[in-house]
């Protein structure tokens, strides 16, 4: 089969089983768009800004486990995509981004819409390629998908000069069925000796805790994590990225840890004697001050990326391998063994944890006057029976979503944890909804974040993605305001969101339903009504308490045991 570059790409995407490609056309990709036009196996979603293309592909990837695919033009198309590429990179999301480049002979001449895309994206991709010949294009695509999806996943950019996609230059097409890369072989099997050592340590624990992260979600190891946790009867806490891998409703789950984690999770981290870290990377939002991190603990760390091990925290038993395989092996060893932690030790550990839990660190005061943002999230949880896909932006609303929407399943909680990208919520929800057309998809956002990619309301209409936007409108960049309240004597420098649009009218002008809710007593009914409009986008503008803060909070320089609690929780 003789194909042009554009056709090679289409055939390759078909071979990779790609359903959707999120993109935006321009000069350098016109040939590709022409090839796209003449086929019907891959559906193209036209976004309104290239950042949104990457976030939508990202949402698709996070909610399905399949790689997201993006197509952008050279120059501004590529630079607009960078934020989304970096977002995917920091959360290890598999993604393949195809960017057009100026014709080969013009590269380096400051040609129209030329940027060094490979250079600009290098620090925020797992790998990138500049295609140098049409003959290599198919194998490059194959490699890109392989690298993006294997090992620790991540975004891969393919930059393709325009001349290589010219319709009348054709090449014999054959899509390789496997990849040979002598320089790339991600680890698979955890070392059996290390796994045994870990299990020995785990079974000798007196105050153990399992700390699991996004790696469990990405590695599809939720089932294995549950099996291990159940078999051991240990308490488990998850990172922001790991929510849902173990059911929130399970009694062994003591909630999220870290900067805005629960009192019980953070205290248990501080007091534990054995820490079992699984697919988590000891990020600074998790550890707090490193010198104070888990002072009594021996640490087991399971991760697919050797570079994650002992990067921030030196661990005692590292295991490099695929998390499903390692956990399966651990479960088998635990089941084989007759040893278990001392019953009395475990009982007193759990008693201690229950005592911390009794503190009710997430508790907040309801009001009849003003809507509490936490209450909206709780109401949404009830109205969706805890079974929706929730995307989020960045700020207080994101933390409240994480704290109050109890995720029982993996891949339901879609947020930018690593890069913290405002603007992620709405476009990622589009990707999620396309991947799960019959599911309820809600985007919990703030009035500042939503404005960063608001133009995507138009994309929602075009492709009929009936997402529900839950705007927790506190008229502030709440998270910024909170830091200014605590750390800058309430000097609210440029964190007030002035001149807000009328979101109801805005939604309507985009062809959607808009609702404004400002009474606490209306929250439940409004949500019910919005959710009943299953074929419409509904923008719900909840006017919420402006002064509410996210608690608990570990401030800079503090350890897990030094949380700032909701003032109502502090003893008088």
């Amino acid at each position: 089969m003789e194909l042009s570059g554009g056709e090679v790409l289409m055939e390759a995407l078909k071979e990779e089983g790609v359903e959707y490609i999120f993109g935006y056309p321009g000069g350098a990709v016109l040939h590709i768009y022409d090839a796209l036009y003449q086929q019907n196996s891959v559906k193209h979603i036209l976004v309104r800004h290239e950042q949104a293309a990457t976030h939508a592909a990202d949402g698709y990837a996070r909610s399905t486990g399949k790689p997201g695919v993006v197509l952008v033009t050279s120059g501004p198309g590529a630079t607009n995509a960078v934020t989304g590429i970096a977002t995917a990179f920091l959360d290890s999301i598999p993604m393949v981004i195809i960017s057009g480049q100026v014709p080969s002979r013009l590269i380096g001449s400051d040609a129209f819409q030329e940027v060094d895309c490979v250079g600009i994206t290098r620090p925020c991709v797992k790998h990138n390629f500049l295609v140098d010949s049409l003959e290599n294009f198919a194998s490059t695509i194959k490699k890109a998908f392989h690298v993006a999806t294997s090992g620790r996943p991540g975004p891969v950019v393919i930059d393709i000069p325009k001349d290589l996609t010219t319709p009348d230059i054709k090449v014999a097409f054959e899509y390789p069925d496997h990849v040979e890369m002598r320089s790339y072989s991600p680890p698979e099997l955890g070392h059996p000796g290390q796994i045994r050592k870990a299990v020995d340590l785990i079974l000798s624990a007196k105050r153990p805790i399992i700390y699991s992260g996004g790696g469990v979600v990405l590695g599809g190891a939720s089932e294995q994590l549950c099996a291990l946790t159940k078999e051991l009867g240990f308490p488990i806490t998850q990172t922001l990225m790991g929510l849902g891998a173990f059911p929130a409703s399970d009694k062994q789950n003591i909630g999220m840890l870290g900067m805005h984690g629960t009192y019980e999770a953070n205290m248990a981290m501080h007091e534990c004697d054995v820490l079992i870290a699984i697919g988590a990377r000891f990020d600074d939002r998790i550890t707090g001050e490193l010198d104070k991190f888990c002072p009594h603990a021996k640490i087991v760390h399971v991760d697919i990326d050797p570079a994650s091990i002992s990067k921030n925290v030196v661990v005692d038993v590292p295991i490099v391998g695929h998390v499903t395989q390692v956990l399966d092996a651990m479960v088998a060893l635990v089941k084989e063994s007759s040893r278990r932690p001392e019953k009395t030790d475990m009982e007193s550990w759990w008693a201690q944890i229950r005592e911390w839990q009794a503190m009710d660190s997430l508790g907040y005061d309801l009001s009849t006057e003003v809507i509490k943002p936490q209450a909206v999230v709780e109401s949404l949880w009830r109205a969706t029976k805890g079974d929706a896909f929730i995307t989020s932006d960045v700020g207080q609303h994101q933390m409240w979503a994480a704290q109050f929407y109890g995720f029982d399943k993996p891949r339901r909680w879609i947020n930018s944890g690593g890069l913290g990208t405002m603007g992620f919520g709405l476009p990622s929800a589009i990707g999620v909804q396309l991947a799960h057309p019959d599911a309820t998809v809600a985007c919990i956002t703030g009035e500042a974040s939503i404005q960063m990619c608001i133009q995507e309301l138009s994309t929602c209409l075009q492709y009929n993605t009936p997402i529900k936007i839950i705007n927790l409108n506190n008229r502030y960049m709440g998270m910024v305001r909170q830091w200014q309240e605590f750390g800058y004597e309430k000097r609210y420098s440029h964190s007030y969101m002035d001149a807000l649009p009328d979101f109801v009218k805005l939604a309507e002008s985009y062809g959607h339903v808009g609702m404004r809710i400002d009474k606490p007593s209306d929250v439940d009914d409004a949500l019910k009504e919005a959710l009943s409009l299953t074929d419409r986008v509904v923008f719900m503008d909840f006017i919420t308490d402006q002064s509410e803060n996210v608690y608990p909070m570990i401030e800079a320089g503090k350890g897990h045991h030094e949380m700032r609690l909701n003032p109502r929780k502090e003893p008088a």
Binding site: V118, V147, S183, P306, A307
Partner: protein, 163 residues
């Protein structure tokens, strides 16, 4: 501690900047970095001299290994190895100093490559210590220009770094 790391990487455009970018992005030290193709034209060999605590060196090695273009690497400092660097130095050479310079060059087993009425270009090969010692001997007031290749290294014995 000072470490000498040898890296085999794909001889592809961009591979060098991936390594250099890694060092700058993560704030690792580079004392020197040399790179050239090997007898296998598809591979380049790079020698990186870096300074860091054991933990940082461990991270550097892991991060380098993570780069898709890196095929194999070794920390030469862990084994017996030979380190060589070439330097050319242009020095002021006038009057009686000329004889003295020639003698010093012989003692250090250097070679004089270029001679004018007032200057020499001296070539010297050796490890970092030897080269620094020679420069100290010359004295900064006499040195007009220095160019150093950066260190290259290879393990002693049968051990080798290859695909």
């Amino acid at each position: 501690m000072r470490h000498v790391i040898s890296v085999l990487l794909e001889n592809e455009s961009g591979a060098l900047s991936r390594v250099a970018g890694l060092f700058s992005a993560r704030g690792y030290n580079i004392e020197s970095l040399t790179v050239a193709p090997t007898n296998d034209p598809t591979l380049s060999r790079m020698t990186i001299v870096t300074i860091g605590t054991e933990r940082i060196i461990e991270q550097i090695i892991k991060q380098l290994n993570k780069l898709v273009d890196v095929v194999r690497l070794t920390d030469l400092t862990e084994v017996q190895f030979i380190e060589r660097e070439i330097m050319m130095v242009k020095v002021r050479a006038v009057g009686e100093g000329r004889e003295e310079l020639k003698r010093m060059t012989d003692i250090f087993r250097g070679r004089i490559l270029d001679v004018t009425e007032s200057s020499y270009v001296i070539e010297l090969t050796g490890d970092d210590h030897k080269i620094t010692a020679f420069l100290d001997t010359l004295g900064s007031e006499n040195i007009i220009e220095v160019v150093r290749s950066g260190a290259t290294g290879i393990a002693r014995g049968e051990k080798s770094l290859k695909v």
